[in-house]
Amino acid sequence: MLSMKLFKFDYFMKCCIVLLLAVGMSSFAYGQRTVSGNVTDGETNEALIGANVLIKGSSTGTVTDIDGNYSVDVSGDDAVLVFSYTGYTSQEIVVGTQSTINIVMSSGELLEEVVVIGYGSVKKSDATGAVEVISPKDFNQGFQTSPDQLIQGRLAGVQVTSSSGEPGAAANIRIRGASSIRANNNPLFVLDGIPLDGRDISAGADIGAGRQSARNPLSFINPNDIESISVLKDASATAIYGSRGSNGVIIITTKKGTVGKPKVELSSTVGFATMPDGRKYNLLNASQFAEENGNPNLNFGADVDAFDEILRTGLIQNHNLTYGGSTESGGRYRMSLGIQDQEGIIKDSEQKTYNATINITQNLFKDRVTIGGKLIASFVRDQAAALSDQVGAEGDMLISALRWNPTRPFMEGGDFVQPSDNERSPAAFLEYYDDATQTSRIFGNLFADVKITDNLKYRFNYGIDRSESSRRVAISRAFRANFAEGSGGVAQIENIEAYTQLFEHTLDYNASLTDNVGFNATVGYSYQEFTRQGNTQRGNGFLIDDQALYLNNLNFANSFPPNNNSSFSDPDDELQSFFGRVNFDINDRYLVTATVRADGSSRFGEDNRYGVFPSAAVAWKISNEDFAPEVFNDLKLRVGWGITGNQEFPSGSAQNQFKPLDDGSGIQQDIVGNPDLQWEETTQFNVGIDFAFADYKFTGSLDYFTKTTEDLLFRLRAAQQAPDVFVWRNLDGVTVDNSGIEFNINTYLVETADFNWEFGLNASYYTNEINNVSGTFPAGIITGEINGQGLSNQRAQLLFDGQPLYSFYLPVFTGFNAEGIAQYEDLNGDGENTASGIVPPGLGDRTFVGDPNPDFTLGIRTAINYKNFDLSMFFNGAFGHQVFDNTALALFSRAALDGGANVDDRVLSSAQAAGDSPIPSTMFLEDADFLRLANLTIGYNVDLGENEYLSSLRFFVTGQNLFVLTGYNGFDPEVNKNKNIDDVPSFGIDYATYPRARVFTFGVNAVF
């Protein structure tokens, strides 16, 4: 114990030294005096309460009180005060010798956007990296359940693809493409300064109907509480997050109490979701089926539509109540309560979320100290239908419904018709399957800002994030499937609990080095730990049919299979980091930023405990040069470079580990540790232009980037003889190369008193390539699992030299021969059909035929205000990519129809014979270009006049996913099913995907 304490003390000392060094920088101090005055509205002459008064080049400042008065300490005559207020044009005043400065502010012009960057914030016009910020007015409108949905399609370079249309489905988020082949490709999420754990926090194990897709871990954040979302795209911006910065960083800032009188805001939305008719497969109806199938034994005389049987109109509602304001003593508070209920368009699927948040800040000691904290308590109830990511031949509920013989009744004599394990009844699935997950999450943080001198500020930030999730899933023994009936019913309870704790110290120093050189430095220390544990209980063999009773009486089971009754606890995961950033602002023309972060992680092998991630960026504000044309309000050239990392491999991979066998009989070596294991490393270069011209009528930016990822994290098999496990390694020589161009522009086409028209567009063009794979994997890396009857062990994708990630590697279908048998191109010229199974490129009849990564993505938004009416529309689209329709491959063939399964009517017009047994080929690979009207909102703001109670009242109606223009035949061209092989990610394979709903909502928003 003693040695342990000494050890800790040693580290304590080191930490203190870092702090002291930083404090040392505070020696530049100036004489101080006080400036005061008041701020009024130029039109009404009324006092402006809560206007911001900031000393330029610092984060020091104050706000005006209830009479519009302020008082602020300035360092000297050079000080510049910046007065700003929401909706008004900011003003900068040089203090000079004045001691009283009264300001009259006028409204109507654009506010300068502020981008939250890691450990600080910066005006958009001063940003040196590729960063974007989006605020609520530009969020996707309508019914949105998580932060990622708010920005879907809105930002160039940010691709958000939800894994399905299921309520609460997790999304796949790619910033500037995928750069990893094994490690997680999702960006780092930072909520109010606390980086979130990217691991799944809810369970989804397979009890026989297939593995459930993961729940969205971000559901705990109420979209209504979000003030802004900043996206850091290039390495010069993300390097401050070091070993977690490779995939970009999304910083979510929540709302704080508004300055001024207390406000109560109530918003309510109700609506409904439906399956868009045009997106259904054209399944045969009963009479078509009877005629085309022709087998009287298979005509059972009924007329049912099994797919409609599992669908419904989902009711959705969302209610938010917030209360917030500020106190005279400099405190701000905000409380909110949100309730959301989303019924899915497939029966039995639903997500209810309950969020409560409290956010308080308080200034103390004449504003020298600010303390604040926030608390989010959320509770999410997910109810799921029997749907799965990778169900095989037998089928989940969706597959069962699609292929259900439409002449076969669901019920006969009061019982479900359940033909066999292979023809499962969708109606019985609805009755006999229960799957509910309850997730509670508490997220809290507490910070203290201390103004040590006017130039030096210290911040302590503490955060804790705790979640508990319990999934209860059961299937009745009355369900005809081997896994259910044959097991006497199954009940399973899975629990996962996780927590993250963060301690962070930062020092921020601001000064003018000379008249023309501004300087800002930030240094910090951060420690974050993550733990995660869980357990599973399963019982089989019940004597009754009611599966709900199984779950509530697990002891009633007659057997508890040992491999399904288990617990785990991940190794404690610690991340200790030292970071710093310096900014120089020279002549208000040249901006220079440099950052560095040293990340030490307990995950890394002992030989590579710390990784160092530097970055640098320069920007040239051309518009401030004398030669710059007047028309430019802003013109800035940015160049940035940086190295970032990705450490998303499981903790515990660097050490040998012995564990029990799954069934508990004895122990064996379970992990072959790799002490050299480290982060993967991405080097990114970015050049960009930010512009604003014609009185800010046009604003936008253009960026070009390249990024190369090396030391890719990958699981390789251990060379036998060895435990039959994967070993995590950093691949030598293999690289993933991304490059792209991003463009966005926003224009105010018409600006009049009664009529405003705003138009915005974002577009991205990408290339993506993996290189030198064959040096390590001569035959490439296989992924893209294909499922279905007769399709076991089929794969569709290959990662190979010079190809985009997840490239489809398939036989080329050339048509059916006279006998109706599928023919494939003889690519290797051997005269034989060697299309089966993936062999190395060049050896068999397979080739690279496309990839699921869009070349080009587009977002178009337009907003019109006419008097009290407003209308906004948002389109998004993606082009130049392919999707593989595994659903059609698995279900729609002549053989399936003859065998008694329903099919899409494409089968009727096909020359395919019953004897043809389709393999994955280009037959089912489709272009997935699409343009979607994602969002249309019409709103009306009620004229309240001099209303005693209400300050604003707005009614609105929103339609989401109103139409999608695409040639793709599946439910929806935006597809992201988890079809990985050995955890090598896959993308662009559509199999039994939960369809995307069309949603209409009606809402009211009232501020009191």
Partner: protein
């Protein structure tokens, strides 16, 4: 109020510093980085036994190898069981080094060998070490038999590097024999359960090694396996006879009056023939023995199967009508509401109440002896004879069936002895008596005399679908021939499976078998 705030802030700061400084040593929670040799070596041994359960799956190489013989095939039915030909290539001997089951089989068997050695490397002595040695040789011998090479490691090798040793067909059998003999006396003479490696289990393994020694010896300079006929050394055959006699003479085993008692869920207690098994416990630790019935029965049978593998008519036609091994009604199956029979299923199938069953198209569920490896047309679901070697466990819910999975049993010993005598081993016993002792109890007629072909056929009749057929056909030099739905003879390179592509990628010192 302010005082509280100050102390609060100070507290935060101090707590922050003390909490936050770490040396980043990773704390494991559900695993341990090293073992306590004295405490854990028995658990490691239990783990090595547990690994045997992974050999029970229908996708494991020892069962997959049945598809390559004249006993079994996995036909494609329309699109069902197409799987891009993964089963068909087995029957036609056209597999490649990237065949998934071949890759998985290589890994599982080598993992088993490694895990057994882990027991030895962690300080095991005496009986524990002896049992671990048996398990190691058992796994490594299967690897050698199937792949012709075994990449072994010394204790405490860095597992990130390729292994330092390579056993081949030239030196493997010698080494295995010496390793087994060295620990023989430390093995238990008897055990309450056939799941423990006893001296008798070691005798069977030794007998298999001696019996097949000539096959492994027939290896070209490039490591290529050579086709038979093989030249068997009389001394080896004498060893086989001697080992078999020790087992027979022990009186511990006898042929069971009820053939299917060897395979029913209660075979642990009911069978008198079990010598070495992988133990399955009802509802508990259990392998995938359930695949033995699911893999063959039709969807509309009880239990609802996968309508997969068929028994070749070459096999079915070897039986006399009275032979109980060909098929039998078992009372307990009917008691569980199933009309299933044990053994082969041919012709119309019935429910337990005598109702004729239908296939999914509504036609009669009438299994035919003819089938096409690529089945189409009206008979899609019903072609091919089905086989239920292990009768289903109806009482155990879930996948955890009770039937112990057999590696060695007594009837095999009698047949090995008969074969060894015919191959030149000396014994006062007549091989026909050994064969007839089995045939009599199985309800078949007796033979006046037997030759090697008779013994091979009897091995098939007795041990069909028990994963010995490939080994037998190779030794009797019929493996490269033709049979139902295998029209062409195959190249001698097919006597070994290829070293999987993945294994060669991770171990550059591992040469591919010639011909792949």
């Amino acid at each position: 109020m302010k005082k509280i705030s100050i102390s609060f802030i100070l507290l935060c700061l101090i707590a922050g510093f003390f909490q936050s400084c770490t040396d980043l040593e990773e704390q494991l929670n559900d695993g341990v980085p090293t073992l306590d040799a004295n405490a854990d070596v028995a658990q490691l041994l239990a783990g090595a036994y547990g690994n045997l359960r992974d050999l029970q799956s229908q996708e494991h190489i020892i069962f997959v190898a049945n598809h390559t013989t004249d006993e079994m095939a996995g036909p494609t039915r329309g699109r069902d069981w197409d799987d891009a030909g993964i089963w068909r290539v087995l029957h036609r001997h056209s597999w490649t080094p990237s065949h998934q089951f071949i890759e998985e089989g290589w890994r599982t068997l080598n993992r088993n060998g490694f895990n057994a050695q882990q027991v030895l490397c962690n300080g095991a002595t005496g009986q524990v070490a002896a049992e671990a040695t048996f398990l190691r040789v058992f796994a490594d011998y299967m690897t050698l038999d199937l792949f012709g090479k075994v990449p072994r490691r010394a204790c405490n090798e860095n597992l990130l590097n390729p292994p330092s040793q390579l056993l081949t067909r030239e030196n493997g059998v010698e080494l295995f024999i010496s390793e087994l003999e060295a620990v023989f006396n430390d093995l238990p003479t008897s055990s309450t359960s056939a799941a423990t490696a006893t001296q008798d289990a070691a005798r069977v393994l030794l007998a298999k090694l001696y019996l097949n020694r000539a096959v492994h010896a027939a290896t070209g300079a490039d490591g290529a396996p050579q086709a038979g006929p093989y030249t068997f050394d009389a001394a080896d055959m004498n060893k086989v006879v001697e080992l078999c006699d020790e087992i027979i003479g022990s009186g511990s085993y006898a042929l069971d009056d009820n053939y299917f008692d060897n395979f029913i869920p209660e075979n642990t207690s009911e069978s008198s023939e079990l010598i070495f098994v992988s133990e399955n416990s009802s509802g508990g630790a259990s392998g995938n023995v359930r695949s033995r019935w699911f893999c063959s029965t039709h969807y509309n049978q009880n239990p609802s199967g996968w309508n997969g593998f068929v028994a070749l008519s070459d096999l079915y036609d070897k039986f006399e009508e009275t032979d109980v091994r060909r098929g039998q009604d078992l009372d307990y199956i009917g008691d569980n509401g199933s009309g299933l029979r044990a053994g082969f299923l041919i012709g119309q199938q019935f429910a337990s109440d005598g109702t004729p069953l239908e296939d999914r198209q509504g036609g009669p569920l009438n299994f035919t002896s003819d089938f096409n490896l690529f089945q189409t047309g009206d008979q899609l679901e019903v072609t091919g004879i089905r086989c239920v070697k292990y009768p289903p466990d109806f009482t155990t819910p879930g996948d955890n069936s009770d039937n112990d999975f057999i590696f060695f049993r007594y009837a095999d010993i009698l047949l090995m002895k008969a074969e060894a005598i015919l191959r030149g081993g000396s014994s006062p016993d007549r091989p026909e008596d050994l064969v007839n002792s089995i045939r009599t109890i199985r309800g078949a007629s007796t033979f006046g005399s037997v030759d090697l072909q008779t013994v091979l056929d009897e091995r098939s009749r007795e041990l069909y679908w028990e994963c010995w057929r490939r080994n037998d056909q190779i030794r009797f030099n019929t493996y490269l021939g033709t049979w139902q739905e295998k029209p062409n003879p195959s190249d001698p390179s097919r006597l070994l499976f290829p070293i999987p592509a993945e294994a060669i990628a991770t171990n550059p010192n591992l040469p591919q078998n010639p011909g792949y």
